[in-house]
């Protein structure tokens, strides 16, 4: 049976703070929360639209160079014109779901966690480590809400 809540983080675990998305998912997965499914990938792709099926809520998680600490926003399906379609936005994933399933996607949030350094082989920066902790604290409330 499909878990009602999906937490989907993306990034390359070997590229410094780009690991924030996968690390966030790893921490949530370790909590073994009932009804919560966890997925990671390097990048968002069109087929991830299929992972939204039969969910009640979805939390997308990525590192962000534009975010100071962390920011969570409710997002809507948008036929955006992202030209880097090898790495489409979560809004585009939602729109792809609408287009191929012909129904509204589940409610989705985007959790952006502030990252600073993205070089190969680097560990998580000190800022990112603190931001990750703040993001986990926020998520514990988000996941608990019915």
């Amino acid at each position: 049976m499909t878990a009602p809540i999906l937490v989907f983080g993306w990034g390359n675990p070997s590229r410094g703070d780009d690991a924030l998305g996968p690390l966030f998912v790893e921490r949530i997965e370790a909590l073994n929360l009932p009804g919560v499914a966890c997925l990671t990938d390097f990048q968002l792709q069109v087929e991830h639209a299929l992972d939204l099926k039969d969910r009640r809520r979805v939390l997308f998680v990525d590192a962000s160079i534009e975010t100071e600490t962390m920011a969570a926003t409710r997002i809507e399906a948008t036929r955006d014109t992202s030209f880097t379609t090898h790495a489409i936005s979560p809004q585009s994933v939602m729109q792809t779901f609408v287009d191929i399933e012909q129904t509204a996607p589940p409610p989705c949030w985007l959790l952006a966690i502030g990252g600073r350094s993205f070089e190969l082989g680097e560990p998580l920066s000190a800022d990112a480590t603190a931001n990750l902790a703040a993001a986990i604290a926020w998520a514990s409330h988000w996941l608990a809400v019915e």
């Binding site: 070997s14 014109t81 379609t85 191929i100 993205f118 190969l120």
Partner: protein
């Protein structure tokens, strides 16, 4: 011919136009054009900001970690690196694979080819092909394709999803799989996994056949433009099986000159350095490989689907081979020499991958239990070569007596195609930009030529807020005179 437009004779008098980064390719690429006051093109270069530190990242690691680690080189073709590294380390161990190990690896590889080619055709290139090279940027993207042709786009999504499922079941996980290990695999297919995949494979074969017809019909509708677009003569290289068949997993190296004459055949890739060398140029981070006996000026070549389909004697699956014959015969062989012929060849390979998956799923070895071979004569050096979705991929390691990797050299597909991609964009610049005012639509012609090669620039960092496209036009005294900006959401503004 090939180095025309590489370096302008008087660059100080020219305007510089930069396309940075090239969209819908992996990582960070930049194209610079030098134009005079009449918009005549004097210099065109594709610069790749390829990460070259990965080889150092591997050094000092125990060899058995490498097949897993190298997947983090690239978020788009991790399976290719996983398998090329495994093959190199098979050689270090002196291991001869069991039938189950080889067939499970092949299954994983064809899953990767299927999903990668589906992504490229349906989602990266079809916007250009369906809407036109200079069409409105607002619709020239994957969601535009879904809106315009929802059934076609949905098939693309499901083909890709199927390939990912093949990878998940053979590699153990959807990403960062561990299925292939030095000397074999650590799992085969479970009976229920095999049945789950077998249930849908006939549909995948059928959709792959449809995809070949889509690109064929696009060629028929736009024959003159497609044949001429970015066309150039080139030498070629790919792996072939001992009997000359296409083999994307293993074989010997075959190279031909631009007329099709064999330069070498069934060459043992374990000594690739005897036939291939690499040149460094000051304006690009990416090296320029060439056939050693011809030198860097004349020895460059191209790799990838177009090369593989034309270079082999036959494809060992019937539907794909029939399509191959029609492709090679089409319009007197014109499509097989066209840069946009890459798309057609790529769909023939996708069909071959689907047929190969079907055959492997009907082979009991994929559910076998003999997973790994005993080590044989240990070697200090190992070379693994595979035909990755984008072309020939070489992994080369030296491992010391403490099992640590002490040297690594990787030549990725996009590096082999470096000079060829530069040549393609120079042809496009001559054909479409020379003497015209630069517009976003014209610049996209350059990107269409690059995308035909499906380059992967070894970078999986795509944090939110990155990847704008900025085109700056600067006068001869350095004063900015015009700029075109496309932000990460694709919105274009002109300063």
């Amino acid at each position: 011919m090939s180095f025309e437009l590489e370096t302008a004779s008087h660059p100080e008098n020219l305007r510089r136009v930069a396309i940075e980064p090239v969209s819908r390719v992996e990582g960070h690429g930049k194209v610079t054009l030098l134009l005079d006051d009449d918009n005549r093109v004097h210099q065109v270069r594709l610069h790749i900001v390829e990460f070259r530190g990965f080889e150092r990242f591997i050094q000092g690691r125990p060899y058995w970690e490498v097949p897993v680690m190298v997947q983090r080189l690239c978020g788009i073709c991790p399976v290719s690196h996983h398998l090329a590294a495994s093959k190199a380390l098979d050689m270090v161990l002196g291991a001869r694979l069991t039938p189950t190990a080889e067939k499970v690896r092949r299954l994983m590889h064809y899953g990767q080819i299927l999903q990668s080619h589906a992504l490229h055709f349906f989602h990266l290139s079809s916007p250009d092909l369906l809407f036109g090279f200079g069409s409105n940027v607002a619709s020239r993207n994957v969601v535009g394709v879904i809106a315009a042709a929802p059934e076609t786009a949905k098939k693309g999504v499901l083909l890709r999803k199927y390939g990912q499922e093949v990878i998940r079941m053979t590699a153990g996980k959807r990403v960062h799989g561990t299925g292939s290990i030095p000397g074999g695999v650590n799992k085969s297919l479970a009976a229920e996994e095999r049945e789950s995949l077998r249930k849908d494979i006939y549909q995948m074969v059928a959709w792959s056949r449809e995809a070949v017809q889509i690109i064929r019909s696009l060629f028929e509708k736009n024959l003159a433009e497609y044949n001429a677009f970015g066309r150039f003569e080139a030498q070629s290289m790919s792996l072939v099986r001992a009997d000359g068949a296409m083999d994307l997993y293993h074989g010997g190296l075959r190279a031909r000159d631009a007329t099709g004459k064999l330069l070498f055949d069934h060459f043992d890739y374990g000594r690739y350095w005897d036939v291939i060398a690499e040149e460094v140029k000051p304006w690009s981070y990416m090296k320029f490989p060439f056939f050693k006996n011809q030198g860097p000026e004349h020895g460059w070549y191209r790799v990838g689907p177009l090369t593989r389909v034309a270079n082999c004697d036959f494809i060992p699956t019937p539907l794909a081979d029939r399509e191959r014959q029609q492709f090679l015969a089409y319009d007197g062989g014109s499509a097989a020499g066209a840069t946009l012929g890459y798309h057609w060849a790529r769909m023939i390979e996708m069909l071959h991958a689907a047929e190969s998956i079907k055959d492997l799923l009907n082979d009991d070895d994929v559910v076998g239990t003999d997973l790994a071979a005993p080590p044989g004569q240990r070697q200090e050096r190992g070379v693994g070569v595979i035909e990755a979705p984008r072309g020939t991929l070489i992994h080369h390691y030296r491992v010391n007596e403490n099992d640590e990797v002490i040297r690594a050299n990787l030549i990725v597909s996009t590096t082999h195609n470096n000079q060829a991609m530069n040549e393609a964009i120079r042809q496009v610049a001559r054909q479409y930009l020379d003497g015209h005012e630069v517009t976003e639509g014209l610049l996209n012609h350059i990107e269409v030529a690059i995308r035909a090669f499906d380059p992967c620039l070894s970078c999986a960092t795509h944090a939110l807020g990155r990847m704008p496209l900025e085109v700056a036009i600067v006068s001869r005294d350095g004063t900015p005179v015009d700029s075109l900006m496309r932000d990460a959401r694709g919105v274009c503004t002109r300063a």
